[in-house]
Symmetry: none
Subunit: 411 residues, 2 copies
């Protein structure tokens, strides 16, 4: 039976525009990228619109598509954040993004971030996790970065159409959650959320972490503000559906969360940071190790995107050269019967400082992969390649097909 | 905050096929087009299928797509004609295209165009406008070109599924309108339309314009024939939805009507004709003036399409060179931080004399626009450009993205 493996190296926010201070070249054209160019020269190239031409996507949506999901199944931020911090989420869960905050005795918000609390939230969160709220509904609560957390209400008959309790400004009281669509599910969720917030206020008020903060003259984390309620529908698990084993190697919680939602295993490490000192050699080693256990491995590289957001074309050139070095390590040890693909989740042009809707270059190298005459890996050259201009999902379908796991339509 | 402006020059029916008498070149390849070629050489190029490859579209559908609308929202001819003559249309209106006609005393059609009546229709129309038809239903009526007019029935609970009253041939009686879908809305519309036609026949019979026509031995415009009933649903207003200000500069009522339906302002002038004597310099000046007030301006050029319909390749070459001259005027005064795009609404190959489904060339030039190695603006060369082959809506989404008004999907 025909089966192949695939390794996909993703440079976040890679696509860009001609930059005057780079002599009218894009950062990718300007960078010295012998390894990326080798993939282009010895493989097949194209340009890719993640969702559609001219439509900018977030890192979460971009990776949803690269991982084989449908854009229409985008689950919202809550589930991605929850899975990013390794909470489990189940079909029917209602998720909320939360802040720990400080309120006065009248429930008026004094500080929306509890003095930018940066320690003890794990203990606080533990107190709020697993509260019974009646009718079979329970809370799940986990801390995220700094003052942030994720709340899940889990139980029968819950709906996502409820208002934020976060007033978004200081000096106003915490709002009571209300149903917005008149459904009994939303009404039940609003009721359970309000009950949870009352219970959690009582638990936070007497929590030792807050006693200690008070003793140190710090604002107590004595309230939760919730926003972005959303009911989670289970997502199609690509690896399971197509019968392969997939893994994502990344440092960023958003990418890890999306990978987990779609049924991929994940490998992460505190050394996988987005800053220029990131240990890309360790990431490459982790990707190759994962490839020994999995059929499909994504390895994600972040620094390219940050340089675009920071309007720093020369920083982006450097980040791209680091990505190139990482790809060099992957190429050097690529196992036989394996393709290596280069991709990105969106463009982040330095002159915009935000994601844009321009296509990103892609290239695939491997035994049996069609080759074209493209010599360089960049936004323009790859457009003349044999993959032409394709969508994100079409790109990954091509990888699935190469792997031999696609389903034939018709007979 | 990043924002840019865009100017899109549209050559109607530009795309063509190799023509033997042009030495196997397309009219666009044959024409001397230094300005169009400059946009191609210094910008990014592609070929565009308005709706889909191989699907010919009308000027109205082509412009619906170029203006950012969805093909599925095509409203039918009635609303386009109504807005083309500056009638307002509202959600729920039922529109009819009409002819002034001549009937005998038995209601049998003698002339479907009332002797090609070409004067006095404004006065006739005024008599038919604003008639009360009961149940809160009123008529709106406005004259269009020559013997044509547009009728709107406006009021609660009307439907569009009614038959034509135009028998399409002389010697047959005017038909009574009937509902075609069994709905109470269509039944009410048929009833109100038949009432309107009776009332209007009485008003037309005694109208001074017809008395004068009779005195001059001309056929009276003593009846209306209606066809193409359609209920109008309000259309998505792209400029409002995305938060920009848009304008269309054109002479043709169809293009102006579609622009207005989609929420664009319009600028027109009797000098903006489709014939070879059209004052393209005045049109260019109007477009540049509009660009000082708007974020996005379309400027439409018609003569290219007419030459295609007339099977006149050499005429098409001349029309293209005139379009090139207009684009030269635009290029010479293009404001900074503005892109100039070249587009078309469909191909009109001279050998077909009708619209065809072949793609049209596109090119975009401006600061930050990706550049490729295409040197000439034509149907073939542009296909090797960095935009590759795209759909009409994708093309305009790319412009919106460049302008910085696109909405990001995901976060």
């Amino acid at each position: 039976m025909y089966r192949r493996k695939a390794l996909v190296a993703i440079a976040d926010g890679l696509g860009d525009r001609p930059v005057e201070e780079l002599g009218g070249l894009t950062p990718l054209q300007k960078a010295r990228t012998p390894n990326l160019d080798r993939v282009a020269r010895e493989g097949g190239c194209g340009i890719m619109d993640l969702l559609a031409p001219g439509v900018p996507v977030g890192t979460d949506m971009g990776h949803l598509l690269l991982f084989g999901g449908n854009g229409a199944d985008y689950p919202g931020r809550g589930p991605v954040e929850a899975r990013g911090i390794n909470m489990d989420v189940a079909d029917g869960d209602v998720l909320f993004r939360c802040n720990f905050a400080t309120v006065d005795k009248n429930g008026v918000v004094k500080d929306r971030r509890a003095g930018r609390i940066n320690g003890g939230t794990k203990d606080l969160a533990q107190a709020l996790d697993g509260l019974g709220l009646g009718d079979g509904v329970r809370s799940r609560f986990a801390p995220a970065t700094e003052h942030r957390g994720v709340l899940i209400l889990r139980g029968p008959g819950l709906g996502g159409a409820v208002t934020d309790t976060d007033p978004k400004v200081t000096g106003k009281p915490v709002l009571a959650a209300q149903a917005t669509d008149g459904s009994p599910e939303a009404a039940r969720t609003a009721e359970k959320l309000n009950l949870f917030l009352r219970k959690s206020a009582a638990l936070l008020a007497e929590h030792p972490v807050n006693a200690q903060r008070a003793a140190q003259g710090e604002l107590p984390a004595n309230a939760l503000l919730t926003r972005g309620a959303g009911r989670f529908r289970g997502m199609a698990q690509q690896p399971e559906l197509l019968g392969f084993s997939g893994c994502c190697v990344a440092g960023e919680a958003t990418v890890l969360g999306m990978a987990r939602l779609l049924g991929y295993e994940t490998v992460t490490d505190p050394a996988f940071s987005a800053n220029p000192a990131t240990d890309y050699a360790r990431k490459a080693a982790a990707a190759l190790e994962a490839l020994s256990r999995h059929d499909l491995v994504f390895v994600h590289f972040k620094a390219t995107d940050l340089a675009g957001h920071d309007n720093q074309p020369w920083e982006k050139v450097k980040a791209i050269e680091m990505f190139d070095a990482m790809v060099g390590l992957l190429l050097a040890q690529l196992p036989p019967k394996t393709c290596l693909a280069l991709a990105s989740d969106h463009s982040t042009p330095c002159e915009v400082g935000e994601h844009s809707g321009e296509p990103v270059p892609v290239a695939i190298l491997g035994p049996g992969i069609r080759r074209d005459e493209v010599e360089r890996f960049d936004e323009i050259a790859c457009g003349r390649g044999c993959l032409s201009r394709i969508r994100g999902r079409d790109f990954i379908m091509g990888i699935f097909d190469y792997m031999g796991v696609s389903k034939k339509r018709g007979s």
